[in-house]
């Protein structure tokens, strides 16, 4: 199998654990903890009162990376150290499983831009102290992109901007300024593409602009945009067709990536769908993915049994041959998807 470039997506302030599950629990005294580490040496990140008393926790959810960032900025000395240890743990785990970039996103940590600037600086410093990988700074706000890139250690290869698009051209200037590579998304000025042709049309207009900014070839990670098959059975296929067309049109140098796990939103058995979709994206000519490297990496993809019933069901779902996922969901309910 060819090289699969993973942009590890796990350090993201939207990431949620279920309270009462394996990774987040309420202690008998009412305090909350995030659990991490290896079996036998499980460590605990305390959940601050603002999160413990918040609506998410009441609803049984907790944004664990956001908790770490809060402790990193506002916790006492011990909590700050544990929070840093937690992010380092997430970073190292992704590096070990094969990530090439570590994507960091603090957009949902706060609505206050200054607070997010402090958050991205702290995250960048902590993550880089534990891992030698370059960062991918992920934000819809150019101020955050700039703050994140300024905090990147330039000796470890180009950092990444996630993302630039026709609706976010400003990010292109930021990337050029800091010598970053870019995720170039297929979003249009006024809408998101809903079929293969619109994806190609938007990207074909974006690419010359990137070129003019000095971004070309290997500096570009094209993201044709992944949408869930749950809401439209054609969504998987039109992404894959776009990947194939883009590879043909732009040749071997450019990278083709995508937020591949978006495809399984709203479906059961997401891990299988994500793995098979990644396999299909690589087959179509992609060479990268913004994914969780613990769940999806070269080793796992090589071991996928492409002749299994589960693989075939997922492939049919992802190529539009199982409208509304009827077959896939039925198989899930019958327990047929677990090898």
């Amino acid at each position: 199998m060819k090289k699969f470039i993973i942009i590890g997506e796990n350090i993201h302030c939207t990431r949620v654990y279920k309270v009462g599950g394996q990774f987040a629990q309420t202690r008998p005294d009412g305090s909350g903890v995030i659990l991490y580490g290896e079996k036998g040496s499980v460590r605990e990140l305390p959940v601050p009162a603002v999160y413990r008393d918040g609506a998410d926790w009441q609803a049984g959810k907790v944004k664990h990376c956001a908790v770490a960032v809060w402790q990193g900025l506002y916790g006492d000395t011990a909590a700050r150290e544990t929070a840093a240890d937690y992010l380092k743990h997430l970073a190292v785990k992704q590096e070990k499983t094969g990530a090439a970039f570590l994507d960091v996103n603090v957009d949902e940590f706060s609505t206050d831009v200054d607070e997010r600037v402090r958050a991205i600086r702290w995250v960048a410093e902590v993550v880089q102290s534990a891992s030698g990988l370059p960062l991918s700074v992920d934000s819809s706000n150019p101020v955050i992109l700039r703050a994140g890139l300024a905090a990147c250690d330039r000796r470890r290869g180009h950092p990444m901007v996630n993302s630039v698009s026709l609706e976010r051209l400003e990010a292109m200037g930021v990337a050029a300024e800091f010598g970053a590579v870019v995720v170039a998304s297929a979003a249009g000025e006024k809408d998101l593409p809903c079929n293969t042709a619109q994806r190609l049309e938007n990207l074909n207009r974006l690419m010359p602009k990137l070129d003019a900014a000095g971004l070309r070839g290997e500096a570009i990670y094209i993201d044709p945009l992944v949408f869930p098959v749950a809401t439209d059975s054609e969504n998987g296929r039109s992404f894959l067709e776009a990947v194939q067309a883009l590879r043909g049109h732009y040749g071997p140098a450019v990278h083709i990536t995508g937020g591949l796990s978006n495809v399984s939103f709203g479906m059961p058995g997401r891990k299988l769908i994500n793995q098979v979709f990644t396999w299909l994206a690589l087959e179509a000519g992609g060479d990268s993915g913004i994914v969780d490297p613990v769940q999806i990496n070269s080793r796992i993809l090589e071991k996928l049994d492409t002749s299994s019933e589960a693989f075939k069901l997922a492939r049919a779902l992802l190529t539009g041959e199982d409208p509304f996922g009827g077959e896939y969901i039925a198989a899930f309910r019958e327990g047929k998807l677990n090898e």
Partner: protein
């Protein structure tokens, strides 16, 4: 199984053609339009909504149930109008200015229709003034605003403010949702309600118009 039960069951399975035929049959048997709506179509969607909340059914199943409901509604509409059955309320629904995401908004729209609301879909990238203009035109009781980005969710505040300064002040309420949105953000900007997911959005809307 009674005819209404059959409508409900067929809807839950997403069988649009069956639902349509069964509603036609119910009308031919002189069953009241409100009864068909409430105890057939909406009753089926209510079960789907509950199961969706508990992760017992998945998005595509909600989608085909909603589609089946739509098929039934088309047949039922003239009878509803003749009997002067009003929707539970009118909601203007859209994704805020600068934001192009529509998946969450569309799911909310489906659940609202399933709860008996008339939904005016304002689309994506919607200016605050457009939300208000559509609410006025359609005599809506609710505005539902969605945002998926921290950079765009601040535009929700604009809607709340613009409403406060308009003739619709006190007549139209604002509910908000989307991945980065929280209850505390809702409180901060003075919106009337926040829902964390599509099924809760329908519950919230019912509460806000009650």
């Amino acid at each position: 199984m009674s005819l209404l039960e059959q409508i409900k069951e067929s809807l839950m399975k997403g069988k649009a053609n069956d639902v349509k035929a069964l509603v036609e049959k119910a009308l031919a048997e002189k069953m009241g339009a409100a009864e068909i709506l409430n105890n057939g179509l909406l009753a089926g969607m209510a079960v789907i909504g509950e199961r969706f909340k508990k992760n017992e059914v998945y998005v595509p199943e909600v989608l085909i149930a909603a589609r089946a409901m739509k098929a039934g509604m088309e047949v039922l509409k003239p009878a509803l109008q003749a009997a002067k059955v009003e929707p539970r309320g009118v909601v203007v629904l859209g994704t805020v200015k600068g934001d192009l995401h529509d998946i969450g908004k569309n799911l909310v729209g489906m659940m609202l229709e399933g709860a008996g609301f008339k939904v005016i879909d304002a689309g994506i990238n919607v200016e605050s003034s457009k939300f208000i203009e559509l609410a006025r035109q359609n005599q809506a009781q609710l505005i539902g605003a969605s945002a998926l980005l921290t950079t765009t969710m601040t535009n929700m505040k604009e809607i709340v403010e613009a409403l406060k300064n308009s003739d619709l002040k006190g007549k139209v309420r604002v509910m908000i949702g989307g991945a980065p949105v929280t209850q505390s953000f809702c409180d901060e900007i003075g919106a009337d309600g926040y829902a964390p997911d599509a099924a809760s959005a329908a519950d919230l809307a019912k509460k806000l118009v009650a």
